[in-house]
């Protein structure tokens, strides 16, 4: 359940898969690794796949907001893959559902970028 990150670079986007729990203990790791990924990206677009994230807290949500900001500064698009109802609920409560492009599958998320 520790935080795990996997990055695949495609021509038009990077696909980042996150696994485990994102909380105050390890969110800084997520931030650093995504920062590094963005430094080496060909395209400014990113899919962040959170479908195997079991838990996310306010620190994790804050970091997602920061990532969204950086991607936008680079004139890129960000799409999230979310599947758990629990995590969806947290996005609803915090209003983040209106800020992020959210998809239920990788295909959907990729499709949203290329629009």
């Amino acid at each position: 359940m520790d935080l795990k990150l996997e990055v695949k670079r495609e021509k038009d986007y990077s696909y980042v898969t996150v696994n485990g729990e994102i909380d105050l203990y390890n969110a800084h790791k997520l931030k650093e690794k995504i920062g590094q990924t963005m430094d080496g990206m060909d395209s400014p677009n990113m899919v962040l796949d959170l479908k195997d994230v079991d838990y996310i807290d306010s620190t994790g949500l804050g970091i997602l907001i920061g990532i969204k900001r950086r991607v936008s500064e680079n004139k890129g698009e960000l799409a999230l893959v979310l599947r758990s109802d629990r995590i969806h609920k947290l996005f609803e409560i915090t209003g983040l559902i209106n800020i992020f492009a959210i998809a239920r599958s990788s295909e959907d998320a990729i499709a949203r970028l290329s629009k």
Binding site: E21, L24, Y25, D57, S58, I93
Partner: protein, 136 residues
């Protein structure tokens, strides 16, 4: 299991005020709540809220307080599950100026009932919250 009085149901956890203990808090709280037995969604709501209350004082990185401890109490009163998170070293209510801190407080207030933040003389800051028990 019977819904019980405070004395019969009180579980107290004291941990170092450090983020590596957050997961232990979440395990304890899930175990405590699922015992009633509570619906999964209620267990998850409470887990999030208590974990965010711990975040409030763990996020504050004042080095003078870095060695402090956090007390988490869980008990039943009337038909409610009650949780109190006490930071004995804190002198002021949690700061809500950052994105993270305000999201955390918003989650607590939305997911729980009767949320209160109290500064108590000589015993720090307490965040207390309740949730009406709905059995499965």
């Amino acid at each position: 299991m019977n819904i019980d009085t405070k004395a019969h149901s009180l579980v107290e956890l004291k941990i170092p005020r450090r983020p590596e203990y957050l997961r232990v808090v979440r395990l304890l709280v899930s175990g405590y709540v699922s015992r009633f037995p509570a619906p999964v969604d209620m267990v998850e709501d409470i887990k999030v809220a208590v974990s965010e209350a711990c975040n409030c004082s763990m996020r504050d990185t004042d080095p003078a307080c870095a060695e402090g401890r956090l007390d988490i109490s869980c008990f039943v009163e009337d038909d409610k599950l009650c949780f109190e998170i006490r930071d004995e070293n804190a002198t002021s209510a949690p700061d809500s100026s950052s994105d993270e801190a305000s999201l955390g407080l918003l989650l607590i207030r939305t997911l729980m009932e009767d949320v209160e933040v109290r500064s108590e003389q000589n015993s720090g800051v307490v965040i207390s919250m309740k949730k009406t028990i709905t059995s499965i």
